[in-house]
């Protein structure tokens, strides 16, 4: 299994509070991703990173920010959590070698509940 951990695994918070989720990898992969998963929507990309300090928005980035100061860590921050951000959050990593894309490997997920 790819070495990807997410913390915390479960979190309950209140509307308006800041929340940070952490993704940590030991594979030294260049690309890291944050997704959210909601019933009926499959996976939706929030933000991704293609290197240290290099990040870009996905399709559902509003209300989220990210940071990547080290290859192994990718942080997702909800500046002021809302109930619509209640979801399961997945981190993923991938690598591209000689132009060949390798599939994404996923962390175990974080269940976030915003009351």
């Amino acid at each position: 299994d790819a070495g990807i951990t997410q913390s915390p695994r479960h979190k309950v918070t209140e509307t308006g509070t800041p929340v940070t989720l952490r993704c940590h990898q030991t594979e030294n992969h260049r690309y890291m991703y944050w997704y959210r998963q909601d019933p009926g929507h499959g996976l939706r990309l929030i933000h991704y990173s293609y290197g240290v300090k290099d990040t870009d928005k996905g399709e559902v980035s509003d209300g989220y920010s990210v940071s990547r100061s080290k290859t192994e860590d990718f942080l997702l921050t909800l500046e002021s959590a809302t109930s619509s951000q209640t979801s399961v959050y997945f981190c993923a990593i991938s690598e591209s070698i000689a132009g060949v894309y390798n599939e994404q490997f996923f962390g175990p997920g974080t269940r976030l509940t915003v009351l």
Binding site: G42, L45, G58, G109
Partner: protein
């Protein structure tokens, strides 16, 4: 824009039988990747099988195989000799080949139920 459609929200199959999950996609690209991921109740997302569009041969992995119809933009997953451990959500995903910043496009998933 590329899209991925899984038209079967839920499928059920008797244990030891064969089931096929459907996936269609829309793209104007000629070179791309297609994937099937499995998500059991543990929530862990697991890659089942991968297909490169330039390869005419259908990918297989043990009991899992695909029927890749490029002209029809269809990518179905066949599970043979279904086992109770196959019960999960199955997601189809597409990725354009080339620029490493291209993203995976996901279907909404199919829930597979295995009847003992």
């Amino acid at each position: 824009a590329q899209t991925v459609t899984q038209s079967q929200p839920e499928m059920s199959v008797q244990e030891a039988e064969t089931v096929t999950l459907s996936c269609t996609y829309d793209t104007s690209e000629s070179d791309y990747y297609l994937f099937w991921y499995k998500q059991p109740p543990s929530r862990q997302m697991i890659l089942v099988i991968r297909q490169e569009a330039y390869k005419q041969q259908n990918a297989t992995e043990n009991r899992f195989s695909v029927n890749f119809q490029k002209a029809a933009k269809s990518f179905s997953l066949k599970i043979s000799d279904s086992q109770l451990g196959d019960a999960a959500m199955y997601f189809c995903a597409y990725r354009r080949r080339g620029n490493s910043n291209y993203q995976l496009i996901w279907g909404a998933g199919t829930k597979l139920i295995i009847k003992p």
